[in-house]
């Protein structure tokens, strides 16, 4: 026992001395696994946007950012932020479903959240991203155009249910599909108005994966998506029996178990009116 205590004290001593030494060492690179999308700027700050592949795309996007002071070139670690993407259409403007922006756990200066672009840009219509943030009680803002190209396969679907509500359903996972049982998750949002898209609670997303190029065969043992209390997304199991192009046919069920959009796939119906696509 005494021996163990001695060892503990010894360890503590070494550890403490070490951490004092490392003060001079450059901090870990917090964006090592990320690729920069673009740097936005205003008079006081540079804001670097990051994602896994350095791009934004129609659908669900996980976005990270950090704020750098123009003076001193130091990263800000105590900001509070919110973001507002706006789609500038010819006749109107609207936003899209977004999360809050929060400090990434375990980092000093990285903030993260998600944005679901339900539309892609085109020749005449485009997205801007507005960032409102406060540092030590001082408010700042910044707006820039961002590029949101169309995804090659459908990752988000927008539709009106039988309840006359407009919904947005976006694929989150699998982001790297495998021939296996994949964890599948989607976000379901409703359009309250042009600027507000809250998460929909207590619904159910029924899935039916099909391969249209192979006689529209399905896969076995899929598990429909139900809402998780932790992240509020809908989670289930998606089985993909081979690589290639899969159409994930969907049916959205409300809390009462009524299907408010989508049709079952069968001999007479090749696809549901709402679906997502995967290709790998």
């Amino acid at each position: 026992m005494k021996f163990i205590r001695a060892i503990t004290i010894l360890c503590l001593a070494i550890f403490t001395s070490c951490s004092t030494d490392s003060d001079e060492i450059t901090p870990v690179n917090e964006v090592a696994d990320l690729v920069k999308i673009q740097t936005m700027e205003n008079d006081t700050h540079l804001v670097e946007l990051y994602s896994i592949d350095g791009q934004l795309e129609q659908g669900y996007n996980k976005v990270s950012l950090r704020i750098k002071n123009k003076i001193g070139q130091k990263f800000v670690s105590d900001a509070t932020l919110e973001w507002k993407p706006i789609m500038h259409m010819e006749a109107t403007q609207h936003s899209c479903p977004v999360s809050e922006v929060t400090k990434k756990p375990g980092t000093e200066s990285l903030y993260e959240g998600f944005i679901v672009f339900q539309m892609a840009e085109n020749q005449t219509e485009y997205w801007t991203l507005t960032l409102n943030y406060a540092i030590n009680g001082v408010d700042y803002t910044l707006t820039e155009t961002i590029n949101v190209p169309a995804s090659t396969r459908r990752k988000v679907t927008v539709f009106t249910g039988t309840d006359d509500v407009k919904y947005i359903l976006a694929l989150i996972d699998p982001s790297e599909p495998k021939v296996a049982t994949n964890d599948m998750s989607v976000g379901v949002f409703k359009m309250e108005n042009m600027m507000t898209f809250p998460i929909v609670n207590s619904y159910k997303v029924k899935i039916d994966p099909r391969m249209p190029s192979m006689g529209n065969h399905s896969s076995p043992n899929n598990v429909d998506l139900t809402q998780s209390s932790a992240d509020k997304f809908y989670h289930g199991k998606l089985n993909l029996t081979m690589t290639g192009y899969w159409k994930i046919n969907l049916q959205l069920e409300n809390a009462l178990g009524e299907v408010i959009k989508g049709e079952p796939v069968g001999d007479t119906n090749e696809a549901s009116s709402i679906f997502l696509e995967l290709e790998f």
Partner: protein, 666 residues
């Protein structure tokens, strides 16, 4: 040439002496009852064979215990006692080899040529457990070799042709042998076009080309010790499978072994041999010759096996003991890539055999006891450890879609026991035997992933959770032989528990376009199989022989429903005339209507049929040269027919005329 053929036919002929001969034990030596089929190039039968350049498949088919499943003109799948290759063990000189095709287009027998082989030993049920766990029995193909004798150099050439399918056969062999060294090598080439069924109806996609090269050599290390090396290279290209939706562009086997043999180790140990072997098989399925397919696909498969056996034969008083320790390691991998009609879509890829590794190690013991001058008893037993592992993560994850709890490996023990009494008295011989055996599921049954069966139109999914299939068998035979007559009646009954079979699961969606559904392998409580055959021979006169054979089989599951591929009552009879170096034979062969068929397996009633074959041969000697000419006609009345074992009822060959020539200089 035509003239020769017509002359031959116009002679009154006949064919096919049963090539099958049974070794009967006599009172001086106890031999277990195994059926031996002598193969064309076997020195003892070279002149007797009606068709020395026939395929190995045609030879095996002459056994009453063997049926061949035909998916085309090439690579027939042997069934032993009504059981397919999952339930039997097929070896080449004791070597385990596993086909690389998920659709069974390449049974082991397709990777050898008659010129490689001297005989096939057929052991029924647990008497065939020496080289591995089996239910139905085993077929061991024995390599041909001169052995250590003073025959010196021998050079030979064979050539043959068949009118139906325009098969061309060319072969050559070179041999050298003396007292301490021998070297045999041979080459065989076959090339055939589509064959025609009765009524001149062409069977599309029934062509094939095959090359086979083999070499075998032995050295004597001492009077009692020797070493032997053996090698076979076999390649088939452009093989059509009219009964299947795909053909084969390449089927290749490389088979090699080294053997050490020691005779007369001591008073009791008569013989000890140890062999190390390997083989590698590549199989490439191909649909590029088919004009219309729902989707184009590639389906390659690979099977590599490494193994050894070590076998001792001992003699102790009344006991003849055999012990065989054997082991193999096999790696089976097969893929499927489908090419979508929309070129912008990604290829669709899956593993149909998920890189399954099988490690088997078993010990087999046999004791043949001469109880009295007339009675003998044969006891056998074996115990094996069978280990499977899915080496591909991709494949394991694919199967976990069906079996989420599945782990990558599985181990099982396979046991076997059998006993047989043999009574030999005067002209009569009786045997009575019992046995128990187990087998592990095959790679397809355990781990197959969407394997399409074109017979029933279902995709098959393997089941890794199955237990051993177990069989209790009983067999009996009565034989009689005197100067003029010989007759033999044999019967065997198998009660197979946890019988493995695919059963439809209509909740699953088939992968193959147009398939009827998905079947998953599962185990029936039991199934019963009964096979019996009677054969009779009579020598009418010193030059005339008559033979007849009748085969009856029965197969039902535990609900008394027919099993698939059960042979209807079949018969064969032949008359042979032989004088000096000339012989002529005629044969009638047929089956009654197949009434007991399995609609669930896609079978329907197969009509009765009968066909007549004729052949004649003449051997000529000229100093040290020997030339044999064989002519024959098969299905001379050009009957259009198919048998119970023709996959998807593809029709069999119509009238076929053949000529085989062999020329040897010694």
């Amino acid at each position: 040439m035509k003239k020769i053929i017509y002359t031959a036919i116009s002679l009154l002929l006949m064919n096919s002496m049963l090539h099958a001969q049974e070794k009967y034990s006599d009172t001086t030596e106890v031999v277990s009852i195994k059926e031996i089929i002598l193969i064309g190039s076997h020195p003892q039968v070279h002149q007797k064979e009606p068709k020395p350049l026939g395929s190995i498949d045609e030879y095996l088919e002459t056994s009453a215990k063997i049926n061949m499943i035909k998916r085309g003109a090439y690579a027939w799948e042997p069934m032993l006692n009504g059981m397919t290759t999952e339930r039997t063990v097929i070896t080449i000189d004791g070597m385990r080899i596993f086909g690389a095709c998920t659709d069974k287009m390449d049974p082991i027998t397709s990777y050898v040529e008659i010129s490689n082989l001297s005989e096939a030993t057929i052991s029924s049920g647990q008497q065939g457990a020496e080289n591995g766990a089996t239910i139905g029995g085993s077929i061991d193909l024995k390599r041909r070799k001169t052995g250590f004798n003073e025959t010196g150099w021998k050079v030979g050439a064979n050539t043959g042709g068949e009118s139906n399918g325009e098969q061309k056969i060319v072969g050559a062999e070179v041999q050298y042998a003396d007292n301490s060294f021998y070297f045999n090598t041979d080459f065989m080439y076959r090339d055939a076009e589509n064959y025609k069924a009765g009524g001149n109806r062409e069977v599309l996609y029934s062509q094939f080309t095959k090359y086979n090269f083999s070499a075998i050599t032995g050295f004597k290390l001492s009077e009692t010790q020797s070493v032997e090396g053996s090698f076979i290279y076999d390649e088939a290209n452009d093989v059509g499978y009219p009964a299947l939706p795909m053909d084969v562009s390449l089927a290749r086997a490389i088979i090699g072994s080294v053997k050490y043999e020691h005779h007369q180790l001591s008073e009791t140990i008569e013989h000890w041999e140890t062999k190390l072997y390997f083989n590698t098989i590549t199989h490439q399925m191909d649909d590029s010759k088919r004009p219309v397919v729902p989707i184009r696909m590639d389906m390659p498969g690979w099977s590599d096996t490494y193994g050894f056996y070590s076998k001792v034969n001992m003699s102790l008083d009344k006991h003849k003991l055999t012990a065989n320790l054997n082991s193999f390691y096999n790696k089976s991998l097969a893929e499927m890539t489908m090419f979508p009609n929309d070129p912008n879509e990604n290829d669709m890829f899956m593993l149909t055999w998920p890189d399954v590794r099988t490690l088997y190690t078993g010990l087999y013991l046999e004791d043949v006891i001469a109880l009295t001058a007339h009675y003998s008893l044969q006891l056998t037993g074996s115990l094996g450890r069978h280990y499977n592992k899915v080496a591909s993560t991709f494949g394991l994850q694919s199967l976990q879609i069906f079996y989420p709890e599945m782990t990558e490996s599985k181990q099982r023990y396979l046991k076997s026991l059998s006993s047989q009494v043999l009574l030999n008295k005067k002209n009569m011989e009786y045997t009575l035997g019992m046995g128990y055996g187990e087998r592990a599921p095959s790679v397809s049954e355990g781990y197959g992933f969407y394997l399409f069966n074109s017979f029933d139109g279902f995709d098959y999914i393997g089941n890794p959770n199955m237990s051993n299939e177990k069989s209790v068998e009983m067999n009996a035979s009565i034989g009689f032989e005197n100067k003029k007559w010989n007759a033999k009646l044999t019967g065997s009954y198998f009660h197979i528990m946890d019988y493995i079979i695919g059963k439809p699961d209509f909740s699953l969606s088939p992968m193959t376009i147009g398939a009827n559904g998905v079947k998953v392998y599962e185990q029936l409580e039991y199934a019963s199989l009964f096979n019996s055959d009677i054969s009779i021979g009579y020598s009418l006169h010193k030059n005339w022989n008559w033979n007849g054979k009748l085969v009856f089989s029965y197969g039902r599951d535990n609900n008394n429903i027919n099993l698939p591929l059960v042979q209807p009552l079949s018969y064969q009879t032949s008359l042979q005339f032989r004088k000096a170096l000339f012989s002529i034979e005629t044969e009638l062969q047929g089956a009654t209507k197949q009434q007991d068929f399995s609609p669930e397996f896609g079978e329907n009633e197969t009509a009765a049929y009968a066909i007549v074959n004729l052949s004649a041969s003449q051997t000529l000697f000229l100093n040290r040269q020997k030339m044999t000419v064989k002519l024959g006609a098969e299905n001379i009345f050009d009957t259009y027919y198919s048998t119970f074992s023709d996959w998807n009822n593809i029709p069999r060959r119509g009238r076929n005329l053949f000529v085989n020539l062999s020329y040897v200089i010694q």
